[in-house]
């Protein structure tokens, strides 16, 4: 009965999300007329991620459509299952049969999950055109800290001093009042580097759908689902000297959303206003034979929710600092040690007062390469949280090259890793149901796999297969106690699965490039629950599809491109007991575009069809999703590379 009161803490905080794993290696193509390949700089973590699965997401989407949210990117270019409360609404991602709370999101090395909810809404992350997105599947407590239980999403704005001057603007229009504007500029003279990016996206989301949940199954127009989002990002890099650099980054996102009601629920005119300001400064220098990095950051996250006009307000300030030192101890031994501190100051309407929390952790990452074919990582982290004792989290992993011939490389990888997740502020301080006595969750993951890379003439490709086993203990779940729900350390979840990933690139002729990929995940993630005879049975966690396939292909011919992506998602249960489920569905998107170039000036015209087959589907029970819809965009770019 008092369900409503805790609903907000509850539904967002714990009724989480899922998502199956996968990713993309890379078909890195610049968005220019020449079909020139671009290599992505190795992520700093990949040096210490031997034996685990880390992949970059195709950056083409972001550069073609700056301002589309990370939710859209992952939906279109990753086989991860994205659970969305509607188009543009709260969207979450989970790895390997865990939930949104078990997905760490790091922005240039700093965790940006909302400390109140303990998760990240991917609809609130419209990365700038120059953002690189990478995914690490599997637990990674030692590398990524709290929350990296199922996997980690890494957002990076790399440092580049390559001289350039560039200005880009883009305008897109689409069905249901969709409009998106983007503008960005980038400059570097070799010593100072600046990148600015502005985007604005909005939609009325007034699509038509059949409401099968009410009497007579009428056709209705979606109500209360409009949104608008503005973002501004600024990067500044300055070379203090040949071996010292200073970086300042800022990312501000302001989002106003009506909250789409579920199909069977009343329209309560809910609106949510989010404001996320993230500022960080980073100094890096070569000191004492190693590289030292110091980071400081301040985030301010405001989340105001109102239903029928009555608000629930929350503001959290987060202060973070990191100090890292990396050095080559021996010719084959690379070491990085570091420490971090986080302070959260929360003013939340649902708490009985303001809440502060401080967290520290220290870590050490070691990479040992005794021979060229073998890399071994041993990473450890210990965290200390005010009134908690998270477990010590080690990771041991290795890559071994089994075969390396002309055109073929076969690598075996294996990894054992521990993870932890500190309870969220809502879990502990929500009044009156928060439970300050919760223990942190902790988990173990074991995985092994093979990677095959080949190059034969103009055909290149990679194939990766990974099998894993995962367990999470003291999984936090909200349970009723009398009239209230309260979080308790309830479940133990065990899972296993397989991930396969295949992608290729074929230069068919001088000006014809074909590329494509296929990714598949088989995911079992179970907890034990009583059946009707009170016998414990294994039940698949809700919103974890057993099968997920994503495929995509693109043809580029001269300055034209034609691209399509398709996904298949199997049945997903919508409750713990597997009473109800969402039917399997397939989704297809397609786009066609052409680039016109005149010296330093370039124009790009693009048309897209989303949900080409007009599939009726839901990723979250009873949240209607848009039918077939169209978008058209025009971009203009001026670039000078002196």
């Amino acid at each position: 009965m008092t369900q409503r009161a805790v609903f907000f803490a509850y539904i967002l905080g714990l009724a989480s999300t899922l998502l199956a794993p996968e990713t993309y290696a890379q078909t890195q193509l610049p968005d220019t007329v020449e079909l020139r390949a671009v290599t992505v700089a190795g992520h700093k973590y990949t040096r210490y991620a031997a034996g685990s699965r880390t992949q970059s997401i195709d950056s083409l989407l972001l550069s073609r459509q700056p301002g589309i949210t990370l939710a859209d990117v992952l939906q279109q270019r990753s086989p991860l299952y994205l659970k969305s409360y509607g188009n543009g609404m709260t969207a979450t991602v989970a790895f390997r049969g865990t939930t949104a709370s078990h997905t760490a999101v790091l922005w240039n090395g700093l965790n940006i999950a909302l400390p109140t909810l303990g998760l990240t809404d991917f609809a609130l992350l419209p990365p700038s055109a120059h953002t690189q997105v990478a995914l690490q599947h599997g637990p990674g407590g030692a590398l990524h800290g709290s929350g990296a239980v199922g996997g980690t999403v890494l957002l990076n704005n790399p440092v580049s001093f390559e001289p350039r001057r560039e200005v880009q603007v883009q305008q897109e229009l689409g069905s249901f009042g969709h409009r998106r504007s983007a503008a960005s500029g980038s400059f570097s003279n070799g010593r100072l580097s600046l990148t600015s990016s502005f985007t604005r996206t909005a939609s009325d989301n007034d699509f038509r759908f059949r409401n099968t949940t009410v009497f007579g199954a009428p056709r209705e127009t979606q109500q209360n689902a409009a949104f608008k989002q503005t973002s501004f990002a600024q990067d500044l890099h300055y070379k203090l000297s040949q071996n010292q650099r200073l970086t300042v980054r800022g990312w501000y996102v302001k989002t106003h959303r009506q909250i789409q009601p579920s199909m069977g629920s009343a329209n309560n005119h809910a609106v949510q206003d989010d404001e996320n300001l993230r500022l960080m400064a980073e100094w890096q220098g070569q000191l004492a034979g190693g590289t030292t990095t110091v980071r400081g950051a301040w985030f301010k996250d405001r989340l105001d929710y109102a239903e029928n006009g009555t608000p629930s307000l929350s503001t959290v300030s987060t202060y973070q600092s990191q100090v890292e030192h990396e050095r080559q101890l021996l010719p084959h031994l690379l070491l990085q040690v570091g420490g971090e501190a986080q302070v959260f100051k929360a003013e939340v309407g649902g708490y009985s007062g303001n809440v502060d929390e401080t967290r520290f952790s220290a870590y050490s990452w070691l990479r040992y390469t005794p021979v060229d074919k073998l890399q071994i990582n041993l990473n450890v982290r210990q965290a200390w949280v005010q009134s908690f004792n998270p477990p010590f989290t080690p990771t041991l992993g290795a890559n071994y090259t089994l075969l390396a011939t002309e055109g073929n490389t076969l690598t075996a990888k294996a990894n054992v890793s521990r993870s932890y997740r500190v309870p969220t502020l809502n879990d502990r301080f929500w009044y009156p149901s928060g439970n300050p006595d919760l223990k942190p969750e902790n988990g173990w993951g074991y995985e092994a796999g093979l990677v095959h890379a080949f190059q034969q003439g103009k055909l290149t490709g990679t194939t990766e297969i990974t099998g894993y086993r995962l367990k999470v203990e003291d999984w936090i779940q909200w349970q009723t106690r009398g009239a209230y729900s309260e979080p308790v350390n309830l479940q133990n979840v065990r899972g296993y699965g397989m991930e396969a990933d295949y992608r290729w690139n074929f230069q068919a002729a001088e000006n014809v490039l074909l590329s494509g990929g296929l990714a598949y995940a088989y995911t079992i993630s179970e907890q034990k629950l009583p059946n009707a005879w009170a016998e414990l049975q294994d039940r698949q966690l809700f919103y974890v599809p057993k099968h997920k396939v994503a495929g995509w292909a693109e043809v580029r011919y001269r300055n034209w491109w034609l691209a399509t992506d398709a996904t298949f998602t199997s049945k997903r249960y919508t409750d713990n007991d597997n009473n109800n489920w969402l039917d399997p569905y397939a989704l297809i998107n397609a786009s066609i575009g052409k680039t016109f170039a005149w010296r330093t000036f370039e124009a790009q015209l693009q048309a897209q069809v989303q949900n080409l087959s007009n599939t009726v589907y839901q990723t979250m029970a009873y949240r209607a999703m848009p039918p077939r819809n169209f978008r058209i965009s025009l971009g203009l770019k001026w670039a000078q590379q002196p």
Binding site: M1, Q3, R4, A5, F7, F8, Y10, I11, A15, T212, T213, V214, F215, A217, S262, M263, G264, S265, A266, Y305, E307, N308, G309, T310, S312, G349, G350, Q477, W478, Q479, T480, R481, G482, A483, S485, L529, P530, N531, A532, A534, T574, D575, N576, D577, N579, N580, A621, Y622
Partner: protein
């Protein structure tokens, strides 16, 4: 799975009608079954708020069989969001969905959907004056952090499935009771019971009963009992004498000050069963003080009593997994249990 359910459905129908025929042998009128679900226990599963997974489970005590998703099974669609209560009026059943702001109307014997009453705001509990007119309490002005009110009672025209009139009452009106042409409404976020004249449909008087009145029942002596809780004062059972100028007698409940739980009365209408502070107690309507010892040490989300057998039904569960209907003897001895759906909050016996 649909086929299996269909088969079960027929099996239950068959079983139900056999029992029914036996039970109704003494009635000389129409003893043919009116539908598969004419008799049995209807369990309201609230579901998780915002998830649209409310359901009605159907339990046939004679065969100890449960159809956990009766509404979906018959109507092939979900019932809605947050089922608060069910009311039977002749051949119709009405299910109030507080998250959907509507009342679903089904045939009481077949459970097939026949209509819907829209235009409501967080409908809670219902009571019918006759087959044409009913009342429903509504949480108007209920928000996350502050109940602005006013609460409301809507008058329902059951012939057209529409709201014919609204009456403002106190904040967060919950249980309601019809007696002698008057409607008594417990205003749970206040300290009053509103008394509405069912001829004029206007509030006639407002009785002050103490903090947090929630549910009402009528006993064999025509006295009205109110269960109230409260965080600033101890909860109580409050007896109202309708013929004596609504004179009030209060029976303070032992233990700390808490919100009221559930209240029900046995078939003979001489023993109250109620939950308070996570325990279940029973009290004779002629007792001079509230009992200090509980009969069951358990915190029910729903509480009901079979008027024929006096078997107690407790609804137990959380908001994310199947709940349980647990049966107890009136003495407090457990009998058995049945798995139902999410958050069982009430029981109706037919």
């Amino acid at each position: 799975m649909n086929l299996t359910q269909l088969k079960k459905h027929f099996l239950y129908a068959l079983l139900g009608s056999t029992l029914l025929t036996t039970a109704c042998d003494s009635d000389n009128e129409d003893n043919s079954p009116k539908g598969a679900y004419e008799h049995g226990v209807f369990i309201t599963n609230e579901g998780a708020f915002g998830h649209g997974n409310a359901e009605i489970s159907y339990l046939l005590p004679q065969t100890k069989t449960v159809q956990p998703e009766l509404f979906k099974q018959v109507n092939n669609r979900p019932l809605g969001d947050a089922a608060q209560s069910i009311m039977f009026v002749e051949d119709k059943a009405y299910i109030a969905l507080n998250g959907s702001n509507r009342i679903e109307v089904v045939n009481a014997y077949s459970f097939a959907s026949t209509g819907v009453i829209n235009g409501l705001e967080i409908p809670r509990y219902m009571v019918a004056l006759n087959s044409r007119k009913a009342y429903v309490t509504e949480y108007v002005g209920y928000e996350f952090f502050g109940y602005t009110g006013p609460g409301r009672v809507s008058v329902l025209d059951l012939t057209t499935n529409t709201v014919s009139k609204t009456i403002d009452v106190g904040k967060l009106p919950e249980g309601l009771l019809l007696h002698n042409g008057k409607l008594y409404v417990a205003n749970s976020d206040g300290n009053t019971v509103s008394v509405i004249n069912t001829t004029t449909d206007a509030v006639e008087t407002t009785l002050t009963v103490g903090e947090g009145p929630k549910f009402l029942v009528l006993d064999a002596n025509q006295k009205i009992w109110v269960l109230r809780g409260g965080y600033s004062e101890a909860g109580a059972l409050v007896k109202i004498d309708p013929v004596n100028n609504h004179a009030i007698t209060s029976y303070t409940l032992p233990g700390e000050s808490l919100g009221a739980g559930q209240l029900t009365i046995n078939g003979a209408k001489n023993t109250l069963y109620y939950s308070y502070g996570g325990r279940i107690y029973s009290m004779s309507t002629t007792a001079t003080a509230a009992p200090t010892a509980p009969i069951i040490r358990r915190d029910p989300y729903g509480l009901g009593i079979d008027p024929e057998t006096n078997v107690l039904y407790l609804g137990i569960g959380d908001f994310s997994s199947n709940g349980w209907a647990i049966r107890y003897q009136p003495s407090g001895t457990v009998i058995d249990s049945f798995q139902v759906r999410i958050a069982p909050n009430g029981f109706s016996f037919r």
